[in-house]
Amino acid sequence: MSAARRVVIVGVASQWGAELARRLERDPSIEYLAGIDSAAPPEGLERTDFIEADIRSAVLSRLLPGTRADTVVHCGVLWYPEPDKPARILHDVNVIGTLQLLAACQRTETLRSLVVRGSAAIYGCEGASPAFFTEEMARTLPLRTRFQRDASELEAYVDNFARRHPAVVCCMLRYQPEIGPGLDAPLARYLSLPVVPTQLGFDPRLQLLHAADATGALEAAARNPVRGAVNVAPTGSISLSRFLRLARRPSLPIPHPLFGPALGRLGSQLGAGPLYGDGVRFLRFGRGVDNRRLRTEISYEPRFDAEGAARDFVTKVAGRRIGPSLHPGDLAGRLAGVGR
């Protein structure tokens, strides 16, 4: 596969789009770099050509061919509602936006590869699901949540595009949720609560991707795209209970039918925000995906495994604690004279 020369990042104002642009700017072999979004990207991008356009509008089909891009990276898929993007806009941006982008890609004759930053939410979260989903297992379980259906729909459109344009390498990245010390996402906020509500009797296996690996994998895929879906996840998994113990966060078990409503109310008061529909199921059953394709075919080896990502998150967030820890682990540790 010829290396990327002219790259367009859709959704450049998002954290991941901006981070990718920052990394690609440092590479002299990339002669042209452009970013499309409806909002301006954060400060600090030097040679990225910013094109202001809404992904949902047809204007994309006029703008994109003009860039003569050989690689398009789609970072505009929204995973959860944000203050300026309420839940009902999510479907529009994710499904209609992707359709408009694909229509624009169709008119861009120079295009050689398309990388989409999608979500592993397409697999869903079930008690009965395999411990590690591989790429061909999408849609084997019922699509239960709105976001899961959207993810499935947008993937179907990309698949369809890939079939009709065999010359374009279409790479669908399926991301597990990210955590990072500086990351402002519902799950990261949830895990930073002083007392973390959990679902009584459930202890999900989690794979939380370190923010550094999230960008690293995106860059690797933009440089070396492969056809089809690729799971982006750390190696291994960690249970929520162990995560909270490492973080010295006491948990508050709530019977699972009450968990969603309780978090909806409590979460917004504590500043975590309500968890979107997928989050509640995610924190009951967890989800594991197999990352062999990422490691062997895209040749990206995540720097942090599931435990490492958790430990890194914990060490950087635990510093913010106010007052002595009331976690039983710390009390017992002080009795035994084991230092922190």
Binding site: A131, F132, D203, R242, L246, P328, G329, L335, V338
Partner: protein, 330 residues
């Protein structure tokens, strides 16, 4: 102060009189803590000071608990937690030794290392204990004991507490994907191809093996190149004799079935106590599949033939062990 001094003098006698070293150490700990507090320390530092003088064993317990509570323990990618499994093991040891008086035969047919698929008959309507007893036989009688992973009815993973417990002791949702991945990691895997048809059959059909699914276990073994070890379990059918079914209850809670036994649900929670039948477990000669190669996994005919062969081996061994066992409870 004077009252305290008086107690401190009388303390050694009563402590030496108590036969429990832990109780003695605890009393000692509390005494030191009190000295600390009266010496002007805050409770936490006093406790820390006093803990420094604890005997080695109790200190170790404290340390282990502290590490556990801080998440400093190992847990593999499946959620198997060896420390936890070791902690609950004595309960199953009691069932194995005392309650069911298990006799195991041919345990050396289980490979000491490397991948292998144990295939057994499945019974025990309310709560099948056969996986835990097979594991018990390997842990107690194998020259090189090893933990085995087992396939669990996936409905169990939708339940609170049970899902967490199963996962920590080595259970995974029954799926060929999970079995294949575990075998590729050179684990010892237990499968019960009868599944729900085995556990849910009425007491009158006990020890008659049901259909072995679609032969998926043979496919898994062929693909991963693992030998199959057939295992016959006798005694598991009598622990909860299934006389009937509570269909409306099963529908209400979404369970595959809810059995009615002589004690359940009549005696409430007491009805969950399994009957003390006598068990025998026989590990048969391993079936080596290496001659077929992984591509043979696509050959339906071969899968059915091999599956039937394994089923007959187990059925035969079950009948033999029934005769050897004699009376079901004595």
């Amino acid at each position: 102060m004077s009252a305290y001094a008086g107690r401190a003098e009388s303390e050694p006698d009563s402590a030496s009189a108590s036969a429990l070293p832990a109780a003695e150490a605890m009393a000692d700990f509390l005494r030191r803590m009190r000295v600390g507090i009266e010496g002007g320390l805050d409770p936490m530092s006093a406790a820390q000071e006093a803990a420094g003088e604890l005997p080695g064993t109790l200190r170790e317990v404290f340390e282990r608990v502290a590490l556990r509570l801080r998440g400093e323990y190992r847990e593999d990618e499946w959620g198997f937690d060896e420390e936890f499994a070791e902690a609950v093991y004595p309960a199953f040891e009691f069932l194995y030794e005392v309650w069911w008086r298990v006799e195991a035969e041919g345990v050396r047919n289980v490979p000491a290392h490397g991948r292998a698929l144990l295939v057994a008959n499945h019974a025990g309507s309310l709560f099948p204990f056969d996986a835990s007893m097979i594991l018990g036989a390997i842990m107690k009688q194998h020259p090189l004991p090893r933990w085995a992973r087992f396939m669990v009815l996936d409905w169990a993973f939708a339940l609170p507490f049970i899902s967490t417990f199963m996962r920590r002791v080595g259970g995974v949702p029954a799926s060929p994907h999970n079995a294949t991945r575990l075998l590729e990691q050179d684990e010892l895997v237990m499968a019960f191809p009868e599944g729900i048809k085995g556990t849910g059959k009425p007491f009158s059909e006990r020890y008659r093996l049901q259909r072995f699914g679609r032969g998926g276990f043979v496919e898994v073994a062929l693909r991963s190149g693992a030998p199959i070890v057939p295992v016959a379990v006798v005694g598991s059918e009598e622990i909860y004799p299934k006389l009937g079914e509570a269909k409306p209850l099963a529908r209400a809670i979404g369970a595959p079935f809810v059995p009615v036994t002589p004690t359940f649900p009549w005696l409430g929670l007491l009805g969950l106590v399994p009957l003390p039948s006598k068990w025998r477990i026989e590990f048969c000669e391993p079936v080596d599949l290496s001659e077929y190669g992984p591509d043979a996994a696509d050959d339906r005919r071969l899968l059915f033939d091999l599956s039937e062969k394994v089923r007959e081996t187990i059925q035969e061994a079950v009948y033999q062990n029934l005769v050897k066992r004699g009376s079901a409870f004595m």
